[in-house]
Symmetry: C2
Subunit: 436 residues, 2 copies
């Protein structure tokens, strides 16, 4: 699937931040790179980008990006970008697009599923499909600036900024047959060179479909307010949808997201963050072992900080398209070591205050129980999802928070006992529940 991206406009309302809007970094990644990477995730595998304003710099960036991602990106220059509306940029690509293609704006953010929804809808013969947002209260949309759409039974009736009756917003994301080019030329002959005008023409002939993508994330980055909204939206999307435990949800995640926001503009990699969080846990474990209350508390605080920072690796990876199987695995392996070391530190602390076999055994059971919960998680989650049942979350966030509280209140043995009981009983529960 080829993908045409319009990147010719000046972006005058954002010019105070960057001379070229497509190259404007949002959370560390230029807008056009976000567009291309997200479209790639949704299945696009070849790009045609039409440049205009600051064309040479955009083209240079795209050459580098193409090599970095291993994805072909052809660039075409629209000489008329300054005088004409965006229809002229569409026409610039006519020579290279002979089959249905995706049409995107360089400054629109979206999630891959939006594109997938759009591509699933049948394309009208000799026409186009537009992804339309029916959530008129969508807080990411600037109602004064958005292009409005009126559609009935999947067909666009009217489109334009001034529309009084409308039931959707134009997301700027299209699935087109090459018939679009004829419609643009036709509109142009009659003095209107915008894409919307061409679409209005196709709509009048029943050749413009509307695909409802309400609820999917998208936004148009036009001014500094929109930029801030987009940034906030991307950050809030990092909150796991039900995947986070309670401590992560209410304490760790809000803090780690703030931290991640500061990290996006540095060169720090997710694996470095995993490693750093692990080292903090090691220091916490050593502090536990020294056997004094003061170092115990310090260790507890450090362990909780490490747990918060441990959220940043995944967030940074998602924001900057750095996710990898290996990264997730590396983090999981370090987490297991960190858990075990923290619990061993506590065990040693408790044992040095009351040297009793029971204390050692309890600490040992806390360690093995924590392990078993991680060891059984994949299998259990998969099976429970198959059966449509809910999944009880008692992960690392809860474990480390219990350790933090135990250290704070000097209740180390009780903490070990609680962790040992909770983790092992939950493991036994899983083994029983999963029985065929």
């Amino acid at each position: 699937m080829k993908c045409l991206i319009l990147a010719a406009g000046r972006g005058s309302r954002l010019q105070s931040l960057a001379d070229s809007k497509p190259l404007l970094p949002l959370l560390g990644v230029p807008l056009i790179e976000r567009t291309i990477r997200t479209a790639t995730q949704a299945g696009a595998d070849e790009f045609v980008v039409v440049t205009g304003h600051a064309g040479e710099r955009v083209r240079e960036f795209l050459r580098e990006l193409s090599a970095r991602l291993g994805v072909p990106i052809e660039t075409l220059h629209n000489r008329e970008w300054a005088e004409c509306d965006n229809g002229s940029s569409v026409l610039a690509a006519e020579e290279v697009l002979h089959a249905p293609f995706l049409l995107l704006m360089a400054d629109h953010l979206f999630e891959p599923d939006l594109i997938r929804d759009l591509l699933r809808a049948p394309l009208p013969e000799q026409g186009v499909n537009l992804a339309v947002d029916g959530a008129l209260e969508n807080p990411l949309v600037d109602p004064r600036d958005v292009t409005r759409v009126q559609h009935v039974a999947g067909k666009i009736q009217a489109i334009g900024k001034g529309l009084e009756r409308f039931n959707g917003y134009d997301t700027g994301i299209f699935h087109c047959t090459p018939a679009l080019f004829g419609a643009v030329r036709e509109a142009r002959r009659e003095g209107e060179s915008s894409l919307s005008a061409a679409l209005g023409r196709l709509a009048a002939q029943g050749r413009a479909g509307a695909v409802d993508v309400s609820g999917r994330f998208w936004c148009d980055v036009d001014d500094t307010a929109a930029l801030q909204r987009a940034e906030q939206a991307l950050l809030q999307r990092l909150r796991g949808k039900g995947g986070d435990g309670p401590v992560s949800r209410w304490l760790n995640r809000p803090l780690s997201i703030r931290l991640t926001r500061r990290l996006v503009n540095t060169g720090v990699t997710p694996n470095r963050i995993s490693l750093f969080s692990f080292l903090l846990s090691v220091i916490a474990a050593v502090l536990f072992m020294s056997g004094h209350y003061a170092t115990l508390v310090l260790g507890g605080v450090l362990a909780q900080i490490a747990s918060i920072i441990d959220g940043c690796d995944g967030e940074l990876a998602r924001l900057k398209y750095l996710q990898s199987d290996y990264g997730g695995w590396f983090d999981a392996v370090l987490d297991r070591y960190a858990d075990a070391l923290l619990l061993f530190g506590l065990t040693w602390y408790a044992f040095s205050h009351s040297p009793d076999m029971g204390v050692l055994f309890t600490g040992f059971m806390a360690i093995i129980g924590s392990f078993m919960l991680s060891y059984t998680a994949d299998k259990y989650d998969g099976l429970m999802r198959q059966r449509g049942g809910g999944v009880l979350r008692m992960g690392r966030d809860v474990r480390v928070f219990l350790i933090f509280l135990g250290a704070l209140f000097d209740q180390v043995f009780a903490t070990l006992l609680i962790i040992a009981l909770l983790m092992n009983l939950e493991t036994v529960r899983r083994v029983v529940v999963c029985r065929p």
Copy 2:
């Protein structure tokens, strides 16, 4: 895919063991049940069985089997079974088979991959394909009794027991179009009512293909010697092909296979075996903790016995078609607990003889390292297989054997140290090797 199974013959050479050969149990499972379950694994989903000798008992068994497996099994009776050759049994099913089908003998054992190989080969128009074993030295074949095949370029030239020139054996496993029925009737009119005669007729018209399945497991259970060979072959197939570690391969597996052979005729389930092996390990761990050399040795021996018995659950499951995802997972969870308890027992033993923080830490590292090796195994194996690299085996078999040796020679601390080093270094190696 429908599957026709001939189960009419008397099986006179085995009549001392069972009145009905299809119902003769081989390692706890009747021959015809093995045939049906293996064919199901290879993709057959509907069965037609032609009975003769002891027909009522075979049909009763198949009714129960059909309900138990949830697979449709239709039975037809061949009234002429005593007078005529096996062609008459084929004809008995003519009314119910109108599309290509699989044809099997109730007393032939085979592996699912043999059927898959056969089904992959294109079927000659209006003809049949026969799975032919080109390994003339196959020790499971009785060269005096087998039907011989001469084939050239995938076509059968001649077939029969007395053939002087031949390059393969008839496995008795066919993929047929309904044209087979015509060939059987034709042969019958000329006085030959065997399946081989019909095949010879098809061969003469170039309609009998030969599909080479050399190297695949199959055998024909005709007499007590063949029965024993088949039993041995099934047992030897339990030796993991490269999946077993060195201790398992040379010590545990040979012993566990002998034990499994005794278990097949009892009602013991694989999960019970997993649980029993786990309990032995718990006792061993408790013996370690008592702190005396005598109980240490006893515990070590018990741990090694538990490790041997731990092989039986999987073997029994494979032999009796009792494998399940849950069973494998249940065994793995118990193994992790058993490993940790054994190592904790040793740690306690070592610590009670020299109460030193270093001993505790070493024991702890042995526990965590052992766990990490299992935790990283799936991911690591998958990645290494993708990359085509070899997989280093240092699993439970080696771990428990080291514990056994350590107990025997009263070198508990050294054992813990070796396990801690080996397991953690191997984990680190995996993390490094898998780096993208």
